[in-house]
């Protein structure tokens, strides 16, 4: 154990400690500088677009790179619509299965379902995209959309013909991708609910449904909201699967069958084949907007989740 003794070095131990601390501080500063540098580099790249296009960039509804017209609204619309639809589909499923796993089902079954959730979480985006392109899109075109049209065709959301790829397909894939995130955070939050509270509700004669509602869902309600927002944050930035399934058409249309485009997907599709330097810069400006939107949502979500999750689980959120 001689390597632990302090006498082998010429320097006094407290000086060695100081050097170590400053070394570590240096690394911390380097990491922070990297992150600040990320922001500055993005702004630097996007600056020409902001300068040239001005405010029309934020309120323009047309994106025609070959004619030099750049408006971000179609992408903002596509991004938010797909993400909200995904949350609408994934939210109830995830919260319900978190309830099921943590409160109702036997341990063995829970670990089995948990295995599925973990596999789902580790499947990369590109494979979801591949599967969506060759399975979900044809299924959407041949089975789901005729069904929706014949039953709900009077609604404006289900107008037009479905090509398979489009807003609804992308939302379905997004929903599948964010289910594991939301479920695992919800489970962490529901774990915190004290057992006495549940027992008290049952002792007062509540049915299990009433117990879950009173003792589990209401105290962790804002935590669940935070989990949903974290899922939203993931959905907003998701690139590959959406780029393969949304159809890539920068238009705003009410129909869910219509092909559209999201902020992330337009960057992935056009960045390496940009037609002009203004086009490149405009795509970077889209990235800046995407960065700030996801930053905002993540910060909000984390603030909410942190207040409810136990200390040791914070890093996972």
């Amino acid at each position: 154990m001689t390597y632990l003794s302090s006498t082998r070095f010429k320097l006094a131990p407290h000086k060695q400690d100081k050097i170590c601390l400053w070394g570590l501080r240096l690394f911390a500063i380097v990491i922070i500088a990297l992150i600040v540098g990320l922001l500055i580099a993005l702004f630097h790249l996007a600056f020409p677009a902001f300068k040239e296009l001005g405010f029309s960039f934020f309120k323009g509804t047309a994106w025609l790179p070959s004619e030099g017209i750049f408006g971000i609204l179609p992408f903002v619309y596509g991004t938010f619509l797909t993400s909200f639809l995904a949350i609408l589909i994934a939210g109830p499923i995830s919260v319900a299965s978190a309830l099921f796993l943590s409160e109702i089902c036997p341990k063995r079954l829970a670990s089995f379902v948990n295995l599925f959730i973990e596999i789902l979480a580790s499947i990369p985006s590109i494979i979801f995209g591949l599967w969506g392109l060759f399975y979900l899109a044809p299924w959407m075109r041949d089975t789901a959309s005729p069904f929706l049209k014949s039953h709900f065709g009077f609604l404006p959301f289900f107008e037009g013909t479905s090509f398979g790829v489009g807003l609804l397909t992308a939302s379905l894939i997004l929903a599948l991708m964010i289910i594991p995130t939301i479920t695992s955070i919800c489970r962490e939050i529901m774990k915190v609910v004290p057992c006495e509270q549940k027992e008290a509700a049952l002792a007062l004669g509540a049915t299990r449904q009433e117990m879950l509602k009173l003792a589990v869902i209401s105290p962790s309600f804002s935590g669940i909201m935070g989990a949903l927002m974290l899922g939203l944050g993931r959905a907003l930035g998701e690139t590959m699967a959406v780029a393969m399934l949304i159809g890539n058409n920068p238009k705003i249309s009410l129909s869910l069958f219509a092909p559209a485009s999201t902020m992330a997907s337009v960057i992935a599709n056009e960045y390496s084949e940009a037609v002009s330097s203004l086009h490149t810069s405009a795509l970077c400006a889209v990235a800046v907007v995407l960065f700030f939107i996801s930053l905002l949502i993540n910060v909000l979500a984390r603030v909410i989740v942190w207040r409810f999750a136990p200390l040791s689980n914070r890093s996972r959120g």
Binding site: Y3, L24, I31, A41, I93, I126, T239, M240, A268, S294
Partner: protein, 298 residues
Amino acid sequence: MNRLYFRKIKNFIFLGLISLSSLFIIIPLSILLVFLISKGLHGLTWSFITELPKPAGEMGGGIVHALLGTIWILSLASFISIPIGILGGVFLSEYGEGFLANTLRYSADLMTGVPSIVIGIFTYALIVIPMKSFSALAGAIALSLIMLPTIIRSTEEILKLTPKHIRKAALALGVPRWKVIFFIIVKGNISTLFTGIILAISRATGETAPLLFTAFGNMYLSSSWKEPMATLPVQIYNYAISPLENWQNQAWSGALLLIILILILNICARLISGRFDVGHGPKFIFMKLRKKWTSKSF
């Protein structure tokens, strides 16, 4: 009485719906896995993982260049991000108070929320534009930026779990603090640290978006860090959107290969953390190392 009946029915329906909800997770995933295996398995032959791709239109060929490229870029990325990430995590857990530490903690958290495509653009601006070409190095840096925050935070959380009395005992023996940190706390937790690192690597393995315009991809075997390099995810993407049926089938086999790679990494992480519990396993392994070290450098 009627009201109780109503409540019971409500309870029954609610529990039924909740129980069915897991099916919405299991069914799509099962369809996906079955589809993946049935489409990818027959193409996943020995020649597929040892041959270079054939020109467009010809049958056969493999993706060895992408497989090796993925491994090469991932090891380069780990080489960059593991030391920085572990040192950052050590800083947070050992000197985790004050302005600098809080800034680092928040910025690491924010970075986990940054979409990977934005990191791709950043790396493009930082590396690809000055170097004037797509390169493996740019891809590795993009991946290391994705791995970094995960490694920092997992290191911090793991090191914080070390009991206080171990630190105090070592300090009381007159061991300098930096030796306590690196030779007792970090070393004792090294297997759990590796679990976190491997999970970060497996997360980065499937990343496609940041590699699209950093490592870019090519169709031949290259080992230079200055040139574009093919990776599995990008190759799958290129094959998937191509009109050739042969390439589409290869995309499925490539996807299966990618999943297997990620699965192996995850299982490794599980095995490491399950095998060596803190306080039992590492001691045994490091007794040998310790002997070696004591005789040489310290």
